[in-house]
Symmetry: C2
Subunit: 406 residues, 2 copies
C-alpha cells in the first residue's frame, strides 16, 4: 500500500499501459529466456495478438531479438525470443583502497576483459588514467559492440542523483564530483554508486535466470570496513542523507575499542578485515595501530584466511572471533529488517565452511523467533567480483526497471 506523492507524481497518459506492458514483456523474456510469444501470452493472460504487437516494438528498439524456432510436440513450432545483452557493453570500475579494477562486461554482467592498477586517490590524475585504460580496453575488445555506460563503484557514501561522492574515507574524498569529469573525458554516461549497494543491485538484477531474487535482503560487505546494501520491498534503501545501511557503526558494546567514527565497540572494530588482522597479529585494535601496523607486517587478510583453512590455529581463532561478532551484527539486521536472506561478501567467505556454524549459533542465541533464526545467510566469494558486477548492473538495470507511475 503505497502513498501517492502529490508533489512529484507521474500522471498516466494514453501510452502508459503500453510502457508498463513493454517492461513486463522485457522482464518475462529476461527471466524465462528463451521464451515464445505464445508462452508470454499465457503468462500475461493476454491475447497472442497483443504479444506480437509488443514484441515487435521491443525488437525494433533493439531490446529483444528473435532466435531460431524450436521443436514442439504438436502444432506450429514456436519462435524463441531473447534479450539483447551480449553486444551491449558496460565498463565497470571498482575503486578500492589499494587497487582499482576495470572490467569490460556485457549487459548480463559476463566478463569480457579485466585489468587492475594501483589506486590513484587524486582525482585530477585518476580521470586521465581511467580514460586511457577504458579507451584502450574498448579498442581492443569491443569490436563492433557498443559501450552504453560506465558503472563506477566507490567505497563510500554517494549521491546518485548528482554523481557526487559525499564521503569516502579510504580515498580521502569528500564531496568529490567524479561523474562530471569522467563523462566529459569519455563521452559515455557514468553511474556512480556505493559499493555495498552496488553488490545488492548485482544480486537483484544480474541473478541467474530462473533463480528467485528476494524482494527483501541485505548484502553485507566485509572488507576494510563493514557496509550493507539494504533492499526493502524490491527497492534499495538510501535514506534521507544517503547514509542508510551503516550497520558497521552499530555498537555491539558500550565500552569496546574506539572506532574511526569516534564511537566505541562498533561492529566494524571487531569484524573488519583490519580488526581480524590486528587480532591475528596479537595487537589490540585501534584505527592508528591498524593503519600503521598492517603495511609493515606484510600479512594480508587473504593470507590469514588461507592459513586458517590450512589449519593454523592462531589464524582460525582470529577468524572465529570475527565470526562471533559478525553473527551478533547480522542478528541486529534480522531483528530490525527481517530480511528473507543476508548475503555476506568479502575475503573471509573463503573460509565459510568453518565460519558458518559459529555465525549461525550466535544468530540462533539472539533471535526472537525460530523463523527469524532460520534466515538464510549466503556467502558470496570475492572471486565472483560482486562489486564489478554491481557496476554492470548500474548501467543495465534501468533498462528493465518498472516505469515510475503515480
Amino acid at each position: 500500500m503505497r502513498k501517492i506523492n502529490t508533489r512529484s507524481f507521474v500522471r498516466a497518459t494514453r501510452w502508459t499501459p503500453r510502457e508498463i506492458n513493454l517492461q513486463i514483456v522485457l522482464n518475462l523474456v529476461r527471466e524465462h529466456e528463451p521464451i515464445s510469444r505464445a508462452e508470454l501470452a499465457r503468462q500475461m493472460k493476454i491475447g497472442r495478438g497483443m504479444v506480437t504487437y509488443l514484441t515487435a516494438e521491443l525488437i525494433a528498439q533493439g531490446a529483444l531479438y528473435e532466435g531460431d524456432t524450436v521443436d514442439s510436440p504438436r502444432g506450429r513450432r514456436p519462435q524463441m525470443l531473447y534479450v539483447r545483452t551480449h553486444d551491449r557493453l558496460v565498463v565497470a570500475i571498482d575503486i578500492r583502497f589499494s587497487s582499482t579494477f576495470v572490467m569490460l562486461t556485457d549487459f548480463s554482467g559476463n566478463s569480457i576483459a579485466l585489468e587492475s592498477f594501483d589506486t590513484i586517490a587524486d582525482r585530477e590524475a585518476l580521470v586521465p588514467e581511467l580514460k586511457a585504460r577504458v579507451t584502450r580496453m574498448l579498442a581492443t575488445h569491443a569490436g563492433s559492440r557498443h559501450c552504453e555506460g560506465i558503472g563506477l563503484v566507490v567505497p563510500g557514501m554517494v549521491d546518485v542523483s548528482t554523481g557526487q561522492v559525499l564521503n569516502a574515507p579510504q580515498l580521502g574524498w569528500r564531496n568529490v564530483d567524479i561523474r562530471g569529469p569522467l563523462e566529459a573525458a569519455l563521452g559515455i554516461p557514468v553511474h556512480v554508486e556505493n559499493a555495498p549497494i552496488a553488490c545488492a543491485l548485482a544480486r537483484m538484477w544480474l541473478g541467474q535466470p530462473g533463480a528467485t531474487v528476494p524482494t527483501d535482503f541485505v548484502y553485507v560487505t566485509v572488507s576494510d570496513g563493514i557496509g550493507a546494501g539494504v533492499v526493502v520491498n524490491g527497492q534499495v534503501v538510501r535514506g534521507q542523507t544517503n547514509s542508510a545501511g551503516e550497520f558497521g557503526h552499530v555498537p555491539l558494546t558500550a565500552d569496546g575499542p574506539t572506532c574511526l567514527c569516534g564511537g566505541h565497540g562498533c561492529l566494524e572494530v571487531y569484524t573488519s578485515n583490519l580488526a581480524t588482522l590486528c587480532r591475528y597479529l596479537g595487537q589490540d585494535f585501534s584505527p592508528e595501530t591498524a593503519r600503521a601496523l598492517l603495511p609493515s607486517s606484510g600479512v594480508t587478510i587473504a593470507e590469514v584466511v588461507s592459513r586458517a583453512i590450512a589449519g593454523e590455529e592462531r589464524a582460525m581463532a582470529a577468524l572465529q572471533d570475527t565470526a562471533r561478532h559478525l553473527g551478533a551484527g547480522l542478528a541486529v539486521m534480522i531483528k530490525t529488517l527481517s530480511p528473507s536472506q543476508i548475503i555476506v561478501g568479502g575475503e573471509i567467505t573463503e573460509a565459510w565452511d568453518q565460519l558458518e556454524p559459529t555465525i549461525r549459533s550466535v544468530i540462533g542465541e539472539r533471535s526472537l523467533t525460530d523463523l527469524a533464526a532460520a534466515t538464510p545467510i549466503v556467502p558470496e566469494l570475492a572471486s565472483a567480483y560482486p562489486r564489478l558486477r554491481g557496476g554492470a548492473a548500474l548501467v543495465s538495470a534501468p533498462l528493465f526497471a518498472a516505469p515510475r507511475i503515480a
Copy 2:
C-alpha cells in the same frame, strides 16, 4: 528504480490509466481541499475536460462531493470539491495490556465517541464484549452514517494478510485469529495491525492537510516494550516474517540485564516504561521483578513523569537515564535507516522538554555526520491517541493508496 516481480505482477489494461488518474485526483483533492476542477487540471497538466470526466466518476462512487462555489477575482466562480470523509465511519480498537479502547471516528480520524474497558485477554470472551460495545456505539452515535470497517490495533506481531496475531506477549496470544470471529460477529470488514506500524500509518495517511509527510521515517513507541514502525520509500517495512522493526531488542551492551527475549542489554531493558519504573523504585530491572513489583507499588509511568515535571529529582533522574539509552537506540536507527525524521510516542513524551536535550546530545555524540545528527526527533503525545488514529487509517488508507501496477 523498482524491479518488476515476474511471479506476481499486475498487467496494464485499457482501464489502467483511468485507475491511476482517479487516484491522483483523489489524493490531490485530499491534500488541497477545497480545490476546483480548473486548479486540478493545472496541477495535473491535463485539460479541464478530463478533470470533469474523472471527478464525475469519483462523485458517482461517493468518494468526492461538490461544495459551494466561491468568489474569484474574475470569471466564472469555481465549484469546490471535497473528499467525503465526515459521513464514512470507522471503529478503531486499541487493545493494550491493561485497558482496551474503542473509538468511533470518521475517515479523517476525527473522534466521534470514545470508551474503554479492562482488557479481556481471552478471545472467546473478548469478541462478544467488543460486538456489544461496537453495536451500541454505532446505534448511539452513527445516525445515518455508515461504518465501513474496524481497525484493530494489537501490541504484537501480525500477519496482515490473514489477520492472525502471530505473537502478542502482553496478551499471551500466539497464532490467534481475531479477524475471523470479529468479522463474523459484526459483519463489518476487520483490519488487524501491529501498534507501532499503525501509529506510523496514521502519520502517513492522516496528517494535517498541507503538511508534508516524509517518505522515510520511523515511529518509535515507548510503552511496556519498545516497538518501531518503519516506513521506507513511502511503504511500511514488514520483512519476511512480519518481525521487522524490533529495535527494542537490539542490544546496547553485551552484558546488560536479561531481557524477556532472552538477550542481554536490549534497548528495551533500559528504556521501556517497566524499566523506567524499576529504576525509579530503586530496583534492578528483570522481567520477573518488573511484573511482580509494579502492581504492588501502585506507581504508574504517568505518575513518575508528572512527578519529574513537578521537580522531583529521583523521578527526573530515572527519566534522564531512560532518555540517554533511548538516544543510543535512536542513533542506531539513524545509522541503519537514515530516516528524515523519527517520531517518538508514549507517556514519557509529556516530559519532552526535559528529555529532548539529553536525547539530542547522545545522538550528536554517536552520529556519523552532522546531517545525520540533525535528524528531527518529534514527540507525539499519548493524548492524541496515535494508536486509535492508526486504526482509522487501516480502514481509510486503502481508498487513497496508489494502484498496484507492474
